[in-house]
């Protein structure tokens, strides 16, 4: 965290469903938009009341310094996101950010692969945008339970990302998990760098696959979080190489796969 943290009552500029249970929330937050890096997050209050008490962390899904807006992409899964889903355009929301450590933006080589599980696709748009703009070939493997749980596929394709997808029910792309898709893809093609975001079980499997392929891998982690600033020490995951814990809010959310035990 080297940037300045800004907190705001940010005005909601757009708030739409992009899939049956997934919404994109756009906020006027120039201080955050000016500084945010791909992979960083914001910590937002879903309601001004004290129940639910804690802020909710969201990957930053769009960064537009020119218009001073940022977006988050989220799935409605619990009380916090249900309250969030009812916020209207023009309302204000309390948002803190940009927080945490983002993605490596200058990986060695030219060919990178992004691996997304469900709503784990959220942090990839700003990353892909930057990588494409700096001359990388970007491929994205996206997995979901079914077609209705995808978001962003077209948006990423429009950036020039080569898209492949897998669904567990076969309703779109290959049938199976994104980890199968990754294994099959790695049999046919080589990459210089991989980035993954999704449920921990998926990240653990991807870490193994990329480990075998000796493909450098960064993971965007998710943990239950309180402060988002590094003071509560609540959002930990075990270190791989030594005893002790990483703090997802400051050491992450993006970490190198070999740093973390999943």
């Amino acid at each position: 965290m080297v940037n300045t943290i800004a907190i705001s009552q940010a005005r909601v500029t757009e708030h739409n469903f992009v899939a049956p249970n997934i919404k994109r929330l756009a906020l006027q937050a120039p201080g955050i938009a000016r500084q945010a890096q791909p992979g960083q997050f914001v910590n937002m209050r879903c309601s001004p009341t004290l129940d639910p008490l804690l802020r909710r962390p969201f990957s930053i899904n769009r960064i537009d310094p020119t218009s001073g807006t940022i977006s988050v992409l989220y799935k409605v899964v619990g009380r916090g996101t249900e309250l969030l889903a009812n916020i209207h355009r023009g309302d204000s929301i309390d948002v803190l950010g940009p927080l945490g450590t983002g993605f490596e933006l200058k990986p060695q080589g030219r060919k990178v692969v992004l691996i997304a599980g469900g709503i784990g696709v959220a942090p990839f748009h700003p990353l892909a945008e930057q990588l494409v703009n700096t001359g990388y070939d970007v491929t994205c493997l996206a997995g979901a339970r079914c077609d209705e749980e995808f978001a962003e596929l077209n948006d990423l394709a429009e950036l020039g990302v080569e898209m492949y997808c897998a669904t567990e029910d076969g309703s779109r792309g290959e049938q199976g998990r994104v980890t199968n898709l990754l294994e099959n893809t790695l049999h046919k093609r080589n990459f210089d760098m991989a980035y993954a975001c999704g449920p921990n079980a998926m990240l653990a499997a991807i870490k193994q696959i990329c480990g075998r392929a000796q493909l450098p891998l960064q993971l965007s982690l998710e943990e239950i979080m309180a402060c988002g600033l590094g003071v509560c020490l609540g959002c930990t995951c075990e270190k791989e190489k030594e005893n002790g814990f990483l703090h997802v809010c400051t050491d992450g959310p993006v970490v190198w796969a070999e740093e973390v035990k999943l």
């Binding site: 008490l53 402060c227 600033l229 814990f245």
Partner: protein, 335 residues
Amino acid sequence: MDEHSTRYTVHGGEKASEPQVKSGLRTAESDSRLTTSLCGIKLNSPILSASGTYGYGKEFSRLYDLSLLGAVVVKGITLNQRAGNPGRRLIETPAGLINSIGLENPGLEGFISQEMPFLREQGVPVIVNISGNTPEEYAALAERLDEEPGVSALEVNISCPNVKQGGMAFGVTCDMAAQVTTIVRSRTNLPMIVKLSPNVTDIAGIAQAVEAEGADCISLINTLLAMAIDIHTRKPLLKNTFGGLSGPAIKPVALRMVWQVAGAIKIPVIGMGGISSWQDAMEFILAGASAIAIGTANFVNPYVVPEIHAGLSKYMEEQGVKNISELVGAARINR
């Protein structure tokens, strides 16, 4: 409206001044109506950070001037470094938070070398919270910190529910609490604050035992022992089964205990437990707390300290009170 345009009033009901914004940092003028003292330490305000919710001050110093605080009470220090508890550490509850951090900290020497240089520069008293597995460990911590420049006081934590040995075990009987107090007293001349556990039947009795052994101040409450169960796995959510409940949910219990303790001892009390607004802070002061500490609310609203500072200033102004110390325990008299 952008994120720098949030207004809050500074310095009471006087002219509402625009907070100074520089790289996101907000500062507020000090207010003589809020200055007070505690165990001989001069405080800019009666607002302290609660140990474990404020790290060592660095993170919040990027958001506002730490001298708004009366003192920074740092995350608990143990003799040796601790990695903290494995597994899930946080559970959100209605208006509350159960934690099982387990005193993750860099250890005494790590704290002194990594954190004290920054803390000494902040122009705010530093209170170091200490925890031990044995009374001798508390004593060793006290002795070393006694000679450390920039440490204004010790807060002896005999109330952490999240460590297997020591911690809360020292705070739940009068004998054990007295034993730790005695040995720490014998090894330091620093003002000694003893932080009590609410997980006892007679908190006033523990406070009296600690006062009798030479404590200069009592702080309370630490977290309430709590748990949650995962109905799908049919197991407790925390590896240690129990954690500590904090947040607005515990405020009425904390206030009641501050009231009981303030009525039973002569040394000052630092009140804490769920304080989230200046109104909450005022309740604790009226109940008899000479100072108050902000804990979990720092996670919910990182600007809660400047906001409480502004709110208390305004209240002093509106009530025509010259200094907040005049209101300590006022609710006890006015009954």
